[in-house]
């Protein structure tokens, strides 16, 4: 049986009914990976066997992005500099998953240190989009999205700093949620930009997203930025109607450069929700145009500091050049980082170092923080009048492998609709809402005010119940 093609909530029912064992689910996933992953390359490492406890509450295998620490596993952020680094502890989300009984299936591929929107900057090579293997799966959580889309995973965790869960979810036709900043503990997530990073679920449907968020959220005493706010049962929010919900349409998001397929799909989605009782209003987020540039100041600035620990002293790669140039220690730092980091990582470290440098701090980092406040205030104002905002997740569907790799600005712009949610800390979800003319999935993004994930789940669930896009799967020719 192809147990791997089901959702987690379906499998939980089957388990309860005794139709399947946890071990069988794990095995069907393992064989799917064996069969397809040569082509897709969603995984960078997988578990040979599963530790399944007989009394496990949720024994559904889960795949996690390669920047989330698993005790005893190599955890590398798909970077050469961390190759052979074995994590000595579990990330809080992994600890919670293990406590719920979910066996870890594997580490999924990603852009190196999550720097990218295509999963092409991985030191292990790119992941391919299951819908069209000449296309990227999006990124940086491209491995997680492709694994779920190709039924090589039931569900997966990604991390989202500027769209890294939602954009690949849109490109691969799965559900991707970036929770509110502080909803999910970041302890054990190897930091890219600490004030923007958030772990979240990539799933086959909205129900699984709610189920997985139930498991991973909550206050963590090990993460000072995690919120001490009670976690509701998110599955209780899965209601099939949008009565009395007001959804805002920000005019700044419907710009030139959006493909007609995306425009059409979003318009149709509005009609579906209208029919289920949603009221739509036009809203304005006037500082949207500064989001990408603000992000590319703040995120690299934090990254430049977060990546300083990869210096060859205590773990990971260490290279001492044969010919001494400066002091031995400086030579070691320079050569280790030179060989250990890829081009995009170096670019971001340099950008960030520059933005924080004496004499430039005020003009870049400080100003960036001020604009960030303005962007956040835009959302505060808009959410006074509506419950959620509806936009496309991305301006276009997935692009070709190699198409944008040498054009960083065009690559950065593929996150134009997702970045604001990270800058403002609000939750946002991407759900499948159509297929483009060239056969690639299109994503619909919903965002809400901080800690209003329940509203996102309700709208997304209603949409899903009244359409069938989430059930579409790529037909893999392997």
């Amino acid at each position: 049986m192809n147990w791997n093609t089901y959702t987690a909530h379906e499998l939980l029912d089957f388990l309860k009914q005794g139709k399947v064992s946890a071990q069988e689910i794990f095995s069907s996933l393992s064989s799917a990976i064996k069969q397809q992953d040569k082509t897709i390359h969603a995984y960078v490492r997988t578990a040979e066997t599963a530790d399944i406890l007989s009394d496990a509450r949720i024994p559904i295998p889960i795949s996690v992005k390669d920047n989330i620490n698993i005790d005893g596993w190599e955890t590398t952020c798909s970077s050469h500099i961390l190759k052979n680094y074995v994590a000595p502890y579990d990330a809080t989300v992994v600890r919670k998953l293990k406590a719920a009984g979910a066996p870890i299936l594997g580490h999924t591929n990603m852009d190196e240190f999550a720097f990218g929107s295509s999963t092409e900057t991985s030191c292990y090579g790119p992941t391919r989009n299951p819908w069209d293997i000449s296309c990227v799966p999006g990124g940086s959580s491209g491995g997680s999205a492709a694994a779920v889309a190709s039924d090589e995973a039931i569900w997966a965790l990604g991390s989202d700093t500027g769209g890294s869960i939602r954009q690949p979810a849109a490109f691969c036709g799965v559900v991707g949620l970036k929770p509110t900043y502080g909803r999910v503990s970041r302890y054990g997530l190897i930091a890219f930009a600490s004030s923007l990073d958030q772990i979240g679920p990539l799933t086959k449907d909205v129900t699984d997203s709610a189920l997985l968020l139930n498991i991973i959220s909550g206050h963590d005493p090990l993460d000072s930025t995690s919120a001490d706010i009670a976690v509701p049962d998110y599955t209780a929010a899965l209601v099939n109607d949008c009565k009395e919900l007001t959804i805002g349409i920000p005019k700044e998001y419907f710009i030139e450069g959006i493909s007609s397929d995306v425009k059409t799909a979003v318009a149709q989605a509005m009609n579906v929700l209208k029919a289920k009782g949603a009221r739509f209003i036009d809203v304005s987020l006037p500082h949207t145009e500064y989001a990408v540039s603000t992000y590319y100041i703040i995120a690299p600035a934090e990254a430049s500091s977060n990546l300083a620990r990869f210096d060859g002293v205590r773990f990971g790669l260490r290279v001492q050049p044969a010919k001494p140039r400066k002091a031995a220690i400086v030579d070691m730092y320079e050569e280790t980082r030179n060989q250990g980091f890829g081009r995009e990582a170096k670019r971001r470290v340099m950008l960030g170092t520059y933005a924080l440098s004496s004499g430039y701090y005020d003009a870049y980092y400080l100003r960036g923080q001020k604009v960030r406040t303005l962007i956040r205030q835009d959302f505060d104002r808009v959410f006074e009048n509506c419950d959620a905002i509806l936009t496309p997740t991305t301006p276009t569907s997935a692009f070709k492998i190699g198409e944008k790799l040498n054009d960083p600005v065009s690559m950065y712009l593929s996150d134009i609709f997702t970045i604001s949610a990270n800058l403002s800390g609000i939750p946002a979800i991407s759900i499948p809402c159509g297929i483009s003319q060239n056969g690639l999935p299109i994503g619909l993004q919903l965002s809400a005010k901080p800690f209003a994930e329940e509203i996102l789940f309700r709208i997304a669930y209603t949409y899903e119940q009244n359409t069938g896009w989430h059930k579409k799967r790529p037909s893999l020719k392997t």
Binding site: I68, Y85, S224, L356, Y361, Y365
Partner: protein, 453 residues
């Protein structure tokens, strides 16, 4: 033109003191905060800066910091914010130090010191908290460096003065006064040998009357207050020689070499780091309620200067006696406890400064480590004063009391028959008996052999 001498110049000194707090655990993780363990045994993923770890502020370290800032008469920032100071060094696991940049816990404080009999106020520019780095151990035999991360994450307070000190001696006096004030707070063991108190110094000289500061040198690697003073004296002289010979002083960091008693260039201003400070995103800024700060202020112990004046005023001690007694707060506490049992405070002070302090110094311990009971100590002093026992016997009894705190003075004197006896007839009888028992010795002495006893 007259020849310039050192007297024509004024020395300007500012000090940076790093104080380790002796909290139970480290500042951002749960590791034990102890000195002297096997290298790299008091470490965890957080203080090793392993990928994915996050800091969580230790509330006890914050309390110590607020307490210290208040004791140094600082204004306390209720807005608690941390920043990252970025630089590469093998003893700094994350490649940045979590410190405070624009909102130090304390600022605009001061500490008074005595200079030539007058009080001089040394302004404190700022006092902020940060995490300590690890320790590099250079193994010259193996030709490599080893890193011990046990110290990484020890809570540290950096206390920076304004450039108010005018001589190496003043710097020494400031450090002495600061250490004493800090010891009273019981936030640190203030032990320079263990590195729990460290001092860097900034020094420049300028012609007398000049208001602009000269080019400074920063001095590091002084391991005692004496070394701070010696390094400053060396540097004062070095800078003077450069200026009188028409040279210019280069802004630089210099290392003190204890063996050679000299400073050497470590790095010039051009090599100075750009620390790229920015707000630490892993720690959310928060407000400490004014009431909480007030609570800490109310619980502050009396400072040594206030205690010194009060001991003179309330107990009639001399300035000299009071100054010695307040050098150790536990000794001062002990004195006050004794003074509750007797009005002979001058005698108590003498006994404390004399035999007791000598004994404490011999044992290298504090009175708080002994269970000497103040009332027994006072009884003993009164017995000696009344002539019940001799001074010599009194000191012996004191030793015995220190050996065995279950004994009382009375018990010990009667059990050992140590009472001083003043009854003439009783004493005459004993003398007669002794003489008759040793008649041959008496005879020998009478014969002129005075060494017979």
């Amino acid at each position: 033109m007259s020849i310039l001498t050192q007297k024509d110049f004024e020395t300007v000194i500012g000090l940076e003191v790093h104080l380790q707090f002796s909290t139970q655990t480290k500042i951002f993780c749960g590791c034990e905060n102890v000195f002297g363990r096997q290298p790299n045994t008091c470490v965890c993923p957080v203080c090793l800066g392993l990928p994915g770890t996050l800091p969580v502020l230790n509330k006890a370290a914050l309390d110590s910091a607020i307490k210290t800032a208040l004791a140094l008469n600082c204004r306390v920032n209720s807005y608690i914010k941390f920043d990252r100071k970025n630089y590469y060094y093998p003893d700094l696991p994350k490649g940045y130090q979590i410190s405070q940049f624009d909102f130090p816990i304390g600022h605009q404080g001061h500490l008074d010191i005595a200079v030539n009999g007058a009080t001089k106020r040394i302004r404190i520019h700022r006092a902020h908290i940060e995490e300590d780095a690890g320790k590099l151990i250079h193994d010259s035999e193996e030709g490599c460096s080893l890193v011990d991360y046990n110290r990484t994450g020890t809570p540290l307070m950096e206390i920076v003065t304004e450039p108010d000190l005018r001589s190496p001696q003043e710097a020494y006096d400031y450090l002495t006064a600061l250490k004493l004030a800090l010891q009273y707070l019981e936030v640190s063991d203030c032990d320079m040998e263990k590195g729990s108190l460290r001092c860097d110094a900034n020094i420049s000289i300028r012609p007398k009357g000049e208001t602009k500061l000269g080019t400074k040198a920063e001095l590091k690697n002084m391991n005692s207050f004496k070394a701070v003073k010696a390094a400053l004296e060396f540097e004062e002289e070095r800078q003077f020689r450069i200026l009188v010979s028409g040279g210019t002083i280069v802004q630089e960091t210099r290392l003190w070499n204890e063996d050679k008693q000299a400073t050497y260039t470590m790095r010039s201003k051009e090599d100075a780091h750009d620390y790229r400070y920015f707000p630490e995103p892993d720690l959310v800024p928060f407000i400490v309620e004014a009431a909480e700060i007030e609570q800490i202020r109310l619980r502050l112990p009396e400072n040594p200067q206030a205690k010194c004046s009060r001991l003179q005023k309330d107990f009639g001690l001399s300035d000299y006696d009071a100054t010695i007694i307040v050098q150790d707060q536990y000794l001062a506490d002990f004195f006050e406890a004794c003074a509750k049992h007797s009005t002979k405070t001058k005698k108590i002070a003498n006994w404390i400064i004399g035999p007791l302090l000598k004994e404490l110094n011999d044992r290298k311990c504090s009175v708080k480590d002994l269970s000497l009971k103040p009332e027994q100590f006072v009884i003993l002093i009164e017995k000696v004063e009344n002539g019940d026992v001799s001074n010599l016997v009194g000191k012996d009894v004191l030793m015995s009391l220190l050996q065995d705190d279950t004994q009382t003075v009375d018990g010990m004197i009667s059990a050992q028959g140590l009472s001083q006896v003043s009854d003439d007839s009783f004493l005459e009888a004993i003398a007669e008996q002794t003489l008759s028992e040793h008649a041959n010795v008496v005879q020998q002495i009478k014969n002129g052999n005075e060494g017979a006893i």
